[in-house]
Every structure is written in C-alpha cells, then in structure tokens.
C-alpha cells in the first residue's frame, strides 16, 4: 500500500546541505501498521511528510496504493491526498469551527455532499464518544476531547492510508489508553495502512505490528514488533526497557548485584533458576510489563549464596538470554 523507494531528502542552508533522509526504503502492506522511531533530528517527521509529499523528496519514488505520487500533477496529488488521513502532532483543530464542522472538513475538501457528510460525521462522532459535544467550539473541550476530535477528523474519510505523529502526546495515561483503543478499533475496521512516527513505547505497542528505526536519516533497524522486543541488543528494544538507577553502594554485603534484561522471556525462569542453583534472590529495582503477550523490562536483583552457586545461576541466566550484568 505504501512503497518508499530510495528516498533522499536534503535541506540547503547557508553552511551547505543537510541530509534529512538518505536511501530510505520502506514497504507497507495494506492494513499494516508500522511505527517509525527516531529522534526528531533523525527524520521520522520528514519521512511522514514525504509520503503525502508535503515535502518532496530530492530523489526516489513514493507510491501509495500503486500510484506514484511523485509523478502526479498538483491536481492529481490533491485528489490522492483525499485518501491519505493525517493526524498530529497535536490536534490542529480550527478554533472557529465547531467539533462537527472540524470533523467534516476533509469531507468538504473532498467534495462529499452535505447529506453524506452529515451521516459520516454523526457516525464517527458517536463512535468517538463526541456526539454530545458536536456543537461545541474546540476551546470548550478537554485535551482528550480535542484529540478525539482530531482522530475523528482523520478517520472520517475512511482513508486507505493514515500518517500519524505522536497521537497521544500530552494526554494523561488513561486518556492515552482509551484513545489508543479507539484508534486500534478504527484501524482494524477500516483496514487502514498506518505509519506512526513516535518514540512512545505505549503507542508502538498498542498500534504497531512492525517498526523501523531511523538514525541520521537512514533506516538502521526494521522488523516486526515481537522480534524487535525479543532482541535486547536492538536500539528499538531499548525503548521498551526501563533505565535502572546507578547501583546503591550500600547494597547488602555478601550479595551479588545483577541487572537482568527481559525481552520476551518468561519472568518465572528467574525463580526457577535461583531455586535450582540454591541461591536466594530479591528484586531491588526495575519493572516488567507485558507487551503483546511478551514480558519486557529490566530488573536489578540481589543474589545471595556461595560464589560457586551464584556463578552457576549467572551462567544459566546468560543461557536464557537475560543478559546478566554484574555490578562490582
């Protein structure tokens, strides 16, 4: 559905040329949801803007639904954009239009008749839980309602492709969770192909099946989300892993302080290994969470027992890909 071939995008300024994207290839099947991860300077936003040609690549081709956008006339491109939804960053609502009229905006641009517009707007507002605020002005809405309005506006045209940047940025944890659930439902129902530029692990975990990691304008890692999580050396996986504080010098005397990385490994193995090796174990820091049925996180544990038993436990933990890191 989305095919980016050898995309290069540069920006010229007084001191020369800055490469924003370099040799980027990205292919998304219909209905696939792919996260684009990277620092802002590494180009995720530019990549999304190149898909709907808000920024025209210097080299390469952009195909959406088999059509080469880079070869289109301005009129053809405008029509093609009617099938490409856009969301974020922020809500970007028109403050002088009510919620319903904000949502109907892309339909107006696409020339959809008033009757059809009203039906579609009512339907999506109902689904987003916004029916009661349909006639309110955006300034009267909560942050969550504003973002829901933006999501409704992005999906009201039933776009084949959605380009989405940090969809839950600035929302509370609960607000973000419910918005992501709504988006997941809409994406599944409409079979939308989605590119999500974000660094938020919760957004990636909730929406994406695949991820691409951008660094210096190049795709340096790419794969399915479960595979990525299962590879602790991956830069992408580190997004999902909490950072542990510096080890406390006062930790228990005689105990071995070890950092363990869980990337898809069942946490029960820790107690099984330590029991089998006859060492005591207590967790002193870190956290684990479940992402797509896989346990991901970092724990700092204290192992107590004889040096030989502890070493045996460490060897087993290494074999189980928990990457134990012993603090002196």
């Amino acid at each position: 559905m989305i095919e980016l071939d050898d995309i290069r995008r540069t920006r010229r300024h007084d001191h020369g040329e800055q490469i924003l994207l370099d040799s980027v290839d990205l292919y998304l099947d219909a209905g696939e949801v792919c996260g684009v991860v990277g620092e802002p300077a590494d180009g995720p936003r530019t990549l999304l803007r190149c898909v709907n040609l808000l920024e025209r690549p210097d080299e390469g081709t952009v195909r959406v639904a088999g059509e080469d956008l880079t070869a289109m006339s301005p009129r053809q491109l405008r029509r093609a954009r009617h099938a490409i939804g856009v969301l974020g960053p922020g809500d970007r609502l028109l403050e002088q239009r009510t919620v319903a009229r904000n949502v109907s905006l892309p339909l107006e641009f696409a020339g959809v008749r008033q009757r059809e517009r009203d039906l579609r707007v009512d339907e999506i507002l109902d689904r987003m839980g916004l029916a009661e605020v349909a006639d309110r002005w955006p300034s009267d809405l909560t942050a969550e309602e504003r973002r829901r309005t933006a999501v409704a506006r992005a999906f009201v045209t039933r776009p084949r492709v959605l380009l989405c940047q940090e969809p839950t940025g600035g929302l509370s944890e609960d607000g973000a969770r419910s918005l992501l659930a709504l988006m997941r439902g809409l994406i599944a129902d409409q079979q939308t192909t989605v590119l999500v530029a974000t660094q938020n692990p919760a957004e990636l975990a909730a929406l994406c099946e695949s991820v691409a990691f951008l660094h210096d304008g190049r795709v340096v890692e790419q794969g399915t989300l479960p595979d990525t999580i299962a590879n602790p050396s991956s830069k992408l996986a580190s997004l999902f892993l909490p950072t542990l504080p510096d080890p406390d010098a006062e930790h228990g005397t005689g105990a071995l302080l070890v950092d363990l990385t869980f990337a898809g490994v069942d946490p029960h193995v820790l107690s099984e290994v330590t029991r089998a090796c006859g060492v005591g174990v207590s967790v002193v820091a870190g956290s684990l969470e479940s992402l797509r049925s896989r346990t991901v996180g970092r724990l700092r544990v204290e192992l107590t027992g004889s040096g030989e038993d502890c070493q045996r436990a460490l060897d087993k933990l290494t074999d189980l890909a928990l990457s134990p890191k012993v603090h002196p």
Binding site: R78, A80, E95, L105, P106, F109, W137, S139
Partner: protein, 216 residues
Amino acid sequence: MSHWLSVLPELARATGTTLATASVATACAVALGLLFGVALVATDKDGPLRVVHAMLACLVEIVGSVPVVIVLLAATSLLRASAERGLAASVVPLVVAATPWFARRVESNLRAVSPAVVEIAVAMGARLRHVLVTVLLRESLPGIASNVALTAVLLLGFTAVADVLDRRGLGGLALAYGVEEPRADVVVVVAGVFVALAQAVKWLGDQVAQRLDHRR
C-alpha cells in the same frame, strides 16, 4: 442659545454627509483591501507567483506611503478639472488612501493563523480557495472584524480632512465656524461628534469581534 437653532440642523446635515461618505468609503476600502490582503497571502513571496506578489506589495507600499492629504489634494485637482463633484468624488480618494492600510492589516491577520493548521488542510487535499476562505479567512475573522472597525475610525478622520477641502460635512462645518466665522463652541461640538462616532464604531467593532471569536 438662539444661534444653535440655526446650527443644529446644519450640524445634523453635516453629520449625515460625513457618515455617508465614511460608510461608503469603509465598505469599498474593506472590499478592496480584503482582495489585496488575500492576494498578498495567496501569491506568497517565496512561491511560484512571487513576481505578482512583489508587484502587489510594491503597489500597496507606494500608495500607502502617500499622505492622505496629498491623495485628497491630487484627487480634488483632478476632479476639479473634470468638474465632477459629489459623494463619489469624495469617496474615491478616501478609498485609495485607506485600502493599502486595510490590505496590510488583513495580510497580517491571515499570516497570524497557525501554519500547522494550514498545513493540515493542504495535507487533507484542500484547494487554494479552501485554504484561503475556509481556513485563513474564517480563522482570522475576529481580527479582521476589529480591523474593519479601526479602518472605519481611520476613514472618519480622513473624511474630516476631505470635508475641509470640499467645504462640506463636519469638516466643512468646523472650517466655517473655526476660521471663517469663529465660534469655538460649534467647533468643540463638532469635535465631540467625531469622538462619539469614533468611539461608537470602535465599540461596535469590539462587540462583533468578541462574538465572532471562539478562541479562549
């Protein structure tokens, strides 16, 4: 007291004349200024129509730089030659003088709309007219309404100058009773009428702008 009996009808007539001139001039200057302001934004200085933009900007700058009294004097001498007088003769130079000012205000109102909002409209496949009307003009309507009121106040002042040159309206009355037949009390009343008119227009403009403004 008795002289007021003769002055009051004169004052009412003069106020009517000045108001009619200023109103027609405001309507024309707003319509033309809106067109020029939108055109200045539509033909962006870095876009493909930058030559048109430069020409428009140049025209607005040049006309806007000529002091209003010079525009009025030029118009008066031109129209004297053609022996045409009346409302239209007063209105044309006023419109010429006020249009560049209002066009610049409209341009600035339109440019104050967040580029992010414009960008999302373009990303949704908006045509140029959608961007200009549905997004830019609609979003900047409260600011434009305020500027319409300010233009009306500005044109009241310009009309006073035109009235003096044409010896009609409130300006003509002030000239008659201020210089030719000095009566300070009449001039003070004329000044008071101008203050009242200007404040009324400004208040009305603020009310309209407030009602149109849905931002917080």
